[in-house]
């Protein structure tokens, strides 16, 4: 992260202390639901039925975690999420790099019209296409398959837009020098330019992975077979019958377990994730 500077004089007055107090109070609001969930997850379901305040005192137990590891499908969901998110990210990176290079560097009939059309695609929300897409995937028998879960995300124009911009920012002298050395166009793309786009690849890869991991609507209506649930849909399925489910502690253990992968990755790659998500929004 770039160096942060105080946006004004830094004092130690009353105002500063009030700002700090307000910020910490808000930070507590951010943390309380997480701490509460972790607390509930380490209590027995029977005890929680009587009083959830029992979180505050012993006995605590890891039985809920043992139960989800032995008796639930969380590992299957985890595996599905990893396959779908990785596959979608790789697909987006390959397609966007090729197309970005094509739009930025090569001439072909109708190029500009097609590019504008792709840009227009940025404004099409999932909700406007999801029903026809669903019918299409039914017709080709793609529901409850990995490609079926990955492909819609690969059709989003954002990656193509990002990579085209990035290729355009690389000086064309670099291509010319390589072409003079008798490199083919594909070699220029593959050996010379692609390695220079690594920062953009990282941004796009992280953004797509996170997006795929947390995607809810499409996997909800496409991967309807319990064996094909992603983590996100699996956890939704357990809370639909919130009241008559296996117990509060068990549910919370699932929530904690389900959020651990992203939270751990977030702790290590916070800088890159923040950059990817904010970059994508603007």
């Amino acid at each position: 992260m770039a160096a942060y500077v105080a946006s004004g004089a830094v004092g130690r007055g009353l105002g500063d202390r009030l700002i700090l107090a307000a910020t910490i109070a808000l930070a507590l609001v951010m943390v309380i639901p997480m701490v509460w969930a972790v607390g509930l997850s380490i209590k027995s379901n029977a005890e929680l039925l009587v009083d959830t305040n029992s979180v505050l005192h012993a006995p605590w137990t890891l039985k809920n975690y043992a139960d989800i590891i032995v008796g639930s499908s969380v590992f299957r969901w985890l595996l599905n999420s990893i396959i779908v998110s990785t596959g979608m990210s790789l697909g987006v990176l390959v397609l966007s790099s090729l197309a970005g290079y094509g739009f930025a560097r090569l001439e072909f009939p109708g190029r500009n019209v097609i590019f504008v059309l792709v840009l227009f695609g940025l404004a099409i929300p999932e909700q406007a296409v999801i029903i026809v897409r669903h019918q299409l995937f039914s017709a080709f028998d793609l529901h409850n398959t990995y490609p079926g879960l990955m492909l819609p995300g690969m059709s989003a124009p954002f990656g193509v837009f990002l990579m085209t911009q990035y290729f355009r920012s690389i000086p064309t002298e670099i291509d010319e020098a390589a072409l003079l050395d008798n490199a083919s166009r594909f070699q220029v793309f593959w050996r010379v330019l692609l390695p220079m786009t690594l920062p953009a690849q990282a941004t796009l890869g992280i953004y797509t992975f996170l997006h795929a991991w947390n995607d809810y609507w499409w996997p909800l209506v496409s991967g309807t077979n319990a064996q094909m649930y992603t983590m996100t849909v699996g956890i939704a399925a357990t809370q639909i019958n919130f009241a008559e489910s296996a117990g509060l502690g068990y549910l919370m253990a699932q929530a904690v377990f389900g959020s651990l992968p992203v939270l751990i990755v977030y702790m290590f790659f916070q800088k890159y994730i923040v950059r990817a998500v904010s970059g994508a929004a603007m």
Binding site: T23, I131, S155, A236, F242, V274, V277, M282
Partner: protein
């Protein structure tokens, strides 16, 4: 635009963009256009279909549930977007420091953004639950009765809004922080020379410099919050009495639960039109770099 390295326009160059274009056309463009056609039909999931013209749209405007859903969506935007923009700006101003504590707090405020909607709703359901929920326990401790937030008509949508603000606050904060980094240092130096106080500097230097970002954040959040779906579907199912049913949940229920697909697609077109207006505004603001 034209690149000097390839003056030769060739069909074979299309091969680079063809794989993406194939998916773009089949999974985005075709569904959009087929959707226009489908919205003019009374169609169900099993292929039965009959041309009805604009009847689906007429039906939508007379459908109390749909009109209510449009109202709920706008109300939800009103509840979330100003709060996200103002709290995000406040946090960015407070945490724009090079200290470890500020870095840690920035990390805390963004952490919820990486969670999925299903985790977020699970966490907040056990905060809002009237029976043993966190808020209920605190209220009971002070001798007050519990409040059934999610099953009270007037409180369901605000409760979903609080959940959403909690989930989404990281992005506006980070966008404002990035903008604050871009404010030219000389402006602060000039303000310091003028002996401008802290609040004066904030009001006359900092805030005017990030006006464009503020506009962009508001538009981005409007587009995002228009698409409210998971929180409502998981926390209240749109209830009680449709009080928390947003447009997208309406589309989902009609399209994927009742399988009245022509009708659902028509509702989707209206949502698309509204989002298109916001996207156009974003494009115009983003383009006017110099004017701000």
């Amino acid at each position: 635009m034209a690149s000097p390295t390839s003056k030769d326009s060739r069909w074979s160059n299309v091969l680079y963009v063809a794989p993406y274009l194939f998916l773009f056309v089949t999974l985005l463009l075709y569904p959009l256009l087929a959707g226009f056609w489908l919205s003019l039909h009374k169609a169900d999931f099993f292929g039965g279909s009959r041309f009805v013209g604009l009847q689906n749209f007429v039906r939508l405007f007379n459908d109390k549930v749909f009109v209510g859903a449009v109202g709920n969506t706008f109300y939800f935007i009103l509840l979330t977007v100003p709060a996200l923009a103002l709290i995000g700006l406040g946090l960015a101003l407070a945490l724009n420091r090079a200290t470890r504590r500020a870095a840690l707090l920035r990390g805390v405020f963004f952490a919820s953004s990486v969670l999925s909607v299903t985790i977020v709703t699970l966490l907040w359901r056990v905060v809002f639950a009237p029976d043993g929920g966190f808020i209920a326990n605190v209220l009971n401790y002070f001798g007050r009765p519990s409040i059934p937030f999610l099953s009270t008509e007037s409180l369901a949508l605000p409760a979903i809004a609080i959940t959403t603000i909690w989930w989404c606050i990281g992005l506006p904060m980070m966008l404002f922080l990035a903008a604050l980094q871009q404010v030219p240092r000389e402006l602060y130096e000039a303000a310091a020379l003028d002996n401008a106080g802290r609040w004066k500097t904030l009001w006359h230097v900092t805030l005017p410099s990030i006006r464009r970002t503020f506009a962009l954040v508001v538009i981005i959040e409007v587009v995002l919050q228009f698409q409210l779906f998971g929180q409502a579907q998981l926390m209240t199912l749109g209830g009680p009495n449709n009080a928390s049913r947003p447009m997208v949940l309406f589309i989902y229920d009609v399209g994927f639960v009742r399988w009245d697909v022509g009708y659902a697609v028509a509702a989707g077109q209206i949502l698309f039109g509204l989002i298109l207006i916001a996207a156009l505004a974003q494009y115009l603001v983003a383009r006017r770099k110099e004017a701000f």
